[in-house]
C-alpha cells in the first residue's frame, strides 16, 4: 500500500510538472496570439502552421543560449532566484485538485498530490514565497533597474497579500474548511460561492492579478519603465525559468479561483470536469484580455488601492458575513 501510494504520487508529480511546463510554453503562444488579434495584428505566423511551433523555437533558443553570470552579481543568490520562482509555483500546485477523481484501469486516481486540510492557506503562502525570486534576483543583479524592480516586488507583496488573505476569509467562514476539496463539495450543495460572496470574488480576482504580476499590476518587470526589471541581467534558461514560473502561476491561480468561487469541478462528472477546464481557460484568457486593454498603475497607486480601498471593503465584507452566519 505504501509503495503504491509513493509510486502514484511520484507519477502525478512528474505528470503535473511536464504538463504545466508545456502549458507555460503554449500559454506564451496564446498570449501572443490573443494580444495580436486584439491589437489588430497577426502575431507569430512563420514557424509551423499559424506560428504554432513558435514556442518550440523559443524553447530551443532559451536552452541553447549562453548562461551569462555578470561580473558584479552575488552569484549564488543570482543563480538560485529563478529556481525559487519556478519551484514555489509548482510546490503550491501540490494542494490543487486539477480534475475530479476518475478510475483508470480499475485504479482510482485523485488528481491532487496532497489533499492537506490547510489547502488554500498553503497555496497562498507558498505562492507568496515565489515573490522572493524577483526580490532576491533583483537585489543580487548589481543593476539599478533590477534593484528598482526588487523594491517594487516588495511593494506588491505587502499590498496584495493582505487583500488576498482577507477576501477569502469570508468564504472560508462559510465553508468551515481550508481544503479545496471541501470547498468544491460545499458548492455542490449550496450553490457557487460567487453568488453569496461576489465582493470577495472580485477582490480575490484583483489580488490574483497582483500576485501573478500581470497588467494592470505589471510593476515588477514593467518593460517601458525599468527594462525587464529583475530579469534584465538574466539570459538563457534562467530567464526561461522565471517565465515558466510566471505562466505556471497564472494557470494555478486560475484553478484556485475556479475552485474557490465558481463551483470547481462540481460533482465529478465528465461534464463537470470539462466545465472546470473551461472556467480555468476563461480566467487565463482574462489575464491576457486585461493586458491588451488596460494601462499599468503606479506602485503607489497599487498600495493606495489595496490598503485604502480594498482592505476596508474586505473587512466590512467579513463582518457582514459573520453577522449573517450568526443570525442564520
Amino acid at each position: 500500500m505504501e509503495t503504491a501510494y509513493l509510486i502514484e504520487t511520484v507519477i502525478k508529480i512528474v505528470v503535473i510538472l511536464l504538463v504545466f511546463s508545456a502549458l507555460a510554453g503554449i500559454g506564451t503562444y496564446f498570449e501572443r496570439k490573443v494580444l495580436a488579434f486584439m491589437q489588430r495584428r497577426l502575431g507569430p505566423m512563420n514557424v509551423g502552421p499559424y506560428g504554432m511551433l513558435q514556442f518550440g523555437a523559443d524553447a530551443i533558443k532559451l536552452f541553447t543560449k549562453e548562461d551569462i553570470i555578470p561580473t558584479n552579481v552575488v552569484s549564488p543568490i543570482f543563480k538560485i532566484a529563478p529556481v525559487i520562482t519556478v519551484s514555489t509555483a509548482f510546490i503550491a500546485a501540490a494542494a490543487i485538485p486539477f480534475l475530479p477523481s476518475f478510475t483508470l484501469f480499475g485504479y482510482e486516481v485523485h488528481p491532487i498530490i496532497a489533499d492537506i486540510n490547510i489547502g488554500i492557506l498553503y497555496i497562498l503562502g507558498v505562492m507568496g514565497i515565489g515573490l522572493y525570486g524577483p526580490l532576491l534576483g533583483g537585489m543580487a543583479s548589481a543593476n539599478k533597474f533590477s534593484l528598482l524592480s526588487a523594491a517594487r516586488s516588495a511593494v506588491v507583496f505587502i499590498s496584495y497579500e493582505v487583500v488576498a488573505g482577507l477576501s477569502i476569509l469570508a468564504p472560508i467562514m462559510l465553508v468551515g474548511s481550508l481544503s479545496l476539496i471541501d470547498f468544491n463539495n460545499y458548492q455542490i450543495e449550496n450553490g457557487w460561492i460567487i453568488l453569496s460572496q461576489p465582493v470577495a470574488f472580485l477582490m480575490f480576482w484583483i489580488a490574483a492579478f497582483a500576485e501573478t504580476g500581470r497588467t494592470p499590476f505589471h510593476l515588477i518587470a514593467n518593460d517601458h519603465e525599468i527594462i525587464d526589471g529583475f530579469g534584465t541581467e538574466y539570459s538563457g534558461m534562467r530567464w526561461g525559468l522565471f517565465y515558466i514560473g510566471e505562466y505556471a502561476n497564472m494557470f494555478f491561480i486560475s484553478f484556485v479561483i475556479s475552485l474557490l468561487f465558481l463551483g470547481g469541478f462540481g460533482d465529478g462528472s465528465v461534464i463537470g470536469a470539462f466545465l472546470f477546464l473551461g472556467k480555468v481557460a476563461f480566467f487565463f484568457f482574462c489575464f491576457l484580455w486585461a493586458r491588451a486593454a488596460w494601462p499599468d498603475v503606479r506602485p503607489d497607486q497599487l498600495m493606495w488601492l489595496c490598503w485604502k480601498v480594498l482592505m476596508p471593503i474586505a473587512v466590512i465584507n467579513i463582518i457582514i458575513t459573520g453577522v449573517v452566519i450568526m443570525e442564520g
Binding site: 486584439m38 489588430r40 495584428r41 497577426l42 486585461a290 486593454a293 480601498v309
Partner: protein
C-alpha cells in the same frame, strides 16, 4: 494596394475636441471621481473595444516579404540613372554638380573627352555605405539624370556597398520597350506644370 490613399493630403474636417474635464483638486471631488470610475464601469469599455476588434479580425499587418507597401514617388532609395527619351543616350552630362553637393562625399565622378570630342563620364560610383539618401544629388542634377529609385532592399555583407554607373543606368532594352519610369520626386517637374507656366513678360 494603391498609392492614392497615401498621397491624399486632404485632411478631413471631422476632427473634434474630446470633452475631458479637469482633474478634481478637492478631496470630495477626488472621491466622487473614484466612485464615478468604479461604478460607471469605464474599464469595461476598454475591455469591450479590444474584444470587438478580436472578433472582427480586421488585421492591418503587411506580411512583409510576401506583401510590400507601395512606395510614394518621393521616396528616396537607391539611385537610378535615366536615359533621354528621344535618343536613348545617357542624360548625364558630367557636370559634376552631384559630386560637389553631396554632403557625405560619397559620389565619385570622373570624365574624359571621348573620340567625338564630347565629354564622357568614365567613372561614376556612389558609396551606399556613406550615402544618407538626402536627395540633394537628385535635386541639383540639371538633367534629371541621377534620381532616386524605389529599391530599398539593399542589404549587403559589407559596409562599403557601392553602386556603379552601369548598374544604375536604365538598361537599353527597357528603354527600347519604353518602360523607363520618370522620376516624380523632389526636383522633378510637377504635374500640370504646363498650365502653370507663364510667358516671360517682355512688355516692358
Amino acid at each position: 494596394m494603391k498609392n492614392e490613399q497615401f498621397n491624399d493630403r486632404n485632411i478631413s474636417n471631422d476632427y473634434f475636441k474630446v470633452d475631458i474635464a479637469d482633474y478634481p483638486t478637492t478631496d470630495w471631488g477626488k472621491f466622487k471621481c473614484a466612485l464615478d470610475r468604479t461604478f460607471k464601469l469605464e474599464l469595461l469599455v476598454g475591455l469591450w473595444v479590444v474584444l470587438r476588434e478580436m472578433f472582427k479580425f480586421n488585421t492591418h499587418t503587411v506580411k512583409y516579404p510576401e506583401e510590400k507597401m507601395p512606395i510614394g514617388p518621393r521616396y528616396r532609395a537607391v539611385h537610378e540613372m535615366k536615359r533621354l527619351w528621344e535618343s536613348d543616350t545617357e542624360r548625364c552630362i558630367g557636370c559634376g554638380l552631384c559630386e560637389k553637393i553631396c554632403i557625405s562625399n560619397c559620389i565619385r565622378i570622373d570624365t574624359k573627352i571621348d573620340e567625338n570630342s564630347r565629354k564622357e563620364v568614365s567613372e561614376y560610383s556612389i558609396n551606399l555605405g556613406r550615402c544618407i539618401f538626402c536627395g540633394y544629388c537628385a535635386e541639383v542634377c540639371p538633367e534629371l539624370a541621377i534620381v532616386h529609385g524605389g529599391e530599398y532592399e539593399n542589404a549587403s555583407d559589407q559596409r562599403e556597398h557601392f553602386v556603379m554607373y552601369e548598374d544604375m543606368l536604365t538598361p537599353l532594352d527597357k528603354m527600347k520597350a519604353g518602360t523607363q519610369s520618370e522620376f516624380e520626386g523632389f526636383g522633378a517637374i510637377t504635374p500640370h506644370e504646363e498650365e502653370r507656366v507663364k510667358k516671360t513678360p517682355l512688355a516692358y
